[in-house]
C-alpha cells in the first residue's frame, strides 16, 4: 500500500478487528467483525457511527463570497440561510460533475464546503482559480475530522454524548457549537436515509468523541461497506461511479434541483441529457456490478446495448439485488432491461427511487 493516509481512528479500527481497505487514498475500515449485513441492519434499526475523516472541507468567506461561490457551484445560495446546508454539484465547463458537495452557510458570506476525499485537491484548485483572490479560501481538511452518526436512535446517542438537545435541528440544518472547549458542527444530514447527524470537529478531538459514542448502548461502528449498501438503497449517487465528469447533474437525476438564479459555470450544459441514471430492481439475489452492460429487453431496440451499471449490490433490507445504471436517454423510459453480469443475464425492472422507502431521515423530531 503506497502512502495511504490515515484518520485519527485507524488504531481504534485495527484494535476492533476492522478489515481495512484503500479508499480514495485513505486506509479505511470496510467492515468490522460483525459484517456488512449486521452493520447495515444496525444503522436501519438502531444507530451506527462511521469514520468519515477522509472527506474534504473548505472554508470560503469575505465580502462577495456568496456571489463568487454561486458562480462555480449549482447550489441555489439565494435561498440558503445561515444554519442551513444544501447538496449540489461543482460542474466543469461541459456541464459534467467535477464533484458533488454540500455547502453550509455559516453566516452571510461565510461558507463551509464538504467534498469527496478523492476530489479534494482537484476541487480546491478548480475553485481557487475561479474566485477573487481577495476572498479567504482555505482547505481545512487536514485539521477537520468528521464522524457520521446514523440511525433512528442517533438522536438519543448524540444528545447523550454531547449533553445538549439536537431535536430542534431540521433535515439539512446545522448548528455551530463547542464541545469540551473545541469547535463542533452538528449537522442533521447523512448518506444512509436514516435520521442522522454529521459531526465536524478538530482532528485531535475525533477519537475522544468517537469512543464516547461507541460506548452508547444504541451505537455500533459501521464501515464503508455498509455505508455503500445503505446509500445505494436510497439511490444516493457515489462520485466516481454514479457521478463523473462525463455526466451532467440532470443525467444523474438532479435536473429539478438546479434552481440557482446565478450564472454559474456551464449553466446550460448541466441540463444536457444524453443518458439517464436509472434505478433497477433485480428480482434475484445475484448482483449486477459496476461496468456490467445493460441491454433493452422490450420494444424495437430489443437486445441493443443501451447502458452501463454504475453501482450494484444485494440490498440487505429488501432481500434482492438493486443497481443504478446510465442508460441512453432514448431507451431509458422502458420498464424492462437485461443486465449482462459476469455469470448470468439478469432481468431488471426500472423503478423509482428510493429503492428503500422506510428511512427515518426526514423524521419530525419536535411537534411544530
Amino acid at each position: 500500500m503506497e502512502n495511504l493516509k490515515t484518520t485519527p481512528l485507524r488504531d481504534w479500527h485495527m484494535a476492533h478487528g476492522a478489515k481495512m481497505v484503500p479508499f480514495a487514498g485513505w486506509d479505511m475500515p470496510v467492515q468490522y467483525p460483525t459484517g456488512i449485513m449486521a452493520e447495515h441492519k444496525q444503522t436501519r434499526e438502531n444507530a451506527a457511527i462511521f469514520d468519515i475523516c477522509h472527506m474534504g472541507e473548505f472554508l470560503l468567506s469575505g465580502p462577495g463570497a456568496k456571489d463568487a461561490l454561486a458562480a462555480v457551484v449549482t447550489h441555489n445560495l439565494e435561498t440558503l440561510a445561515p444554519g442551513r446546508c444544501r447538496y449540489g454539484f461543482l460542474p466543469n465547463e461541459r456541464g459534467g460533475v467535477i464533484d458533488d458537495l454540500i455547502v453550509y452557510c455559516l453566516a452571510q458570506d461565510s461558507f463551509l464546503l464538504v467534498v469527496n476525499g478523492a476530489r479534494e485537491d482537484i476541487d480546491f484548485t478548480w475553485i481557487k482559480g475561479r474566485i477573487p483572490a481577495s476572498l479567504h479560501f482555505e482547505n481545512v481538511s487536514a485539521a477537520t475530522g468528521k464522524i457520521d452518526v446514523q440511525g433512528p436512535k442517533s438522536l438519543e446517542a448524540v444528545q447523550a454524548v454531547l449533553g445538549r438537545s439536537c431535536d430542534h435541528l431540521k433535515y439539512f440544518s446545522f448548528e455551530q457549537t463547542t464541545f469540551q472547549g473545541a469547535p463542533l458542527i452538528v449537522s442533521r444530514t447523512g448518506y444512509t436515509g436514516e435520521l442522522g447527524f454529521e459531526l465536524y470537529l478538530p482532528w485531535d478531538r475525533v477519537q475522544g468523541v468517537w469512543e464516547m459514542l461507541a460506548a452508547h448502548p444504541a451505537v455500533a461502528p459501521a464501515g464503508l461497506g455498509a455505508r455503500d449498501t445503505l446509500r445505494l438503497e436510497m439511490g444516493y449517487p457515489l462520485y466516481g461511479q454514479d457521478l463523473d465528469e462525463e455526466h451532467t447533474p440532470a443525467e444523474a437525476g438532479y435536473g429539478a434541483m438546479l434552481t440557482s438564479p446565478a450564472s454559474h459555470t456551464a449553466k446550460d450544459q448541466v441540463l444536457t441529457v444524453r443518458e439517464r441514471l436509472v434505478a433497477l430492481h433485480i428480482p434475484g439475489r445475484r448482483s449486477a456490478r459496476h461496468y456490467d452492460r445493460v441491454f433493452s429487453a422490450t420494444g424495437q431496440g430489443v437486445g441493443q446495448d443501451v447502458g452501463l451499471i454504475t453501482s450494484g449490490s444485494f440490498s440487505p433490507t429488501l432481500g434482492h439485488s438493486i443497481a443504478l445504471a446510465y442508460v441512453r436517454a432514448d431507451a431509458a423510459e422502458a420498464e424492462d432491461f437485461v443486465v449482462r453480469a459476469a455469470k448470468a443475464e439478469l432481468a431488471a425492472k426500472r423503478v423509482d427511487l428510493p429503492f428503500f422507502q422506510g428511512g427515518s431521515a426526514r423524521m419530525k423530531l419536535q411537534q411544530a
Partner: protein, 126 residues
C-alpha cells in the same frame, strides 16, 4: 476452524469423503475472506463434475468468487437451504453450510490434509 477429518482444495473448498458420497463446501477461511454471502450458485443435481472444474459461484456484498469441485463424480444433492439463506455458509461452513454432494467416479488426487491446508491459509492470510 480447520476440521481434521476433512480434505481441502487449494481453492478453499473442503471435501468430506465418505463411502457413499462426498460432501463439499467452502472453508471457514474462504467465507471469512468473502464476507457476508448474499448469493450462492450451485451445480444442478445430476451434473457430472471434474476435480478442479468451475461448478458454481459465490457472491458477497463486496466480492464474487468461483467454486471448483474438489472431486470427480456426479452431483447427487445440493443444499437448497442456501438459496434463501446463503449466510449459513458464513455461520456454519462445515455443517449447515455444505454446498453439494457428489458420488465419486474417480479417486481424488492432490487434496490437502488439515495440516497442509492450515499452512496454506497462514501463507495467504495477511
Amino acid at each position: 476452524m480447520i476440521p481434521k477429518h476433512l480434505h481441502y482444495a487449494e481453492t478453499h473448498e473442503w471435501a468430506d469423503i465418505e463411502e457413499d458420497a462426498v460432501t463439499v463446501g467452502i472453508t471457514h477461511f474462504a467465507q471469512e475472506q468473502l464476507g457476508d454471502l448474499t448469493f450462492i450458485d450451485l451445480p444442478a443435481v445430476g451434473k457430472d463434475v471434474r476435480q478442479g472444474e468451475e461448478v458454481g459461484s459465490v457472491e458477497s456484498v463486496k466480492a464474487a468468487s468461483e467454486i471448483y469441485s474438489p472431486v470427480t463424480g456426479t452431483v447427487l444433492e445440493v443444499n437448497t437451504a442456501l438459496e434463501e439463506s446463503p449466510q449459513l455458509a458464513n455461520e456454519d461452513p462445515y455443517v449447515k453450510g455444505w454446498f453439494f454432494k457428489v458420488k465419486l467416479s474417480e479417486e481424488p488426487t492432490g487434496l490437502l490434509d488439515s495440516e497442509a491446508y492450515a499452512a496454506l491459509v497462514v501463507s495467504q492470510a495477511h
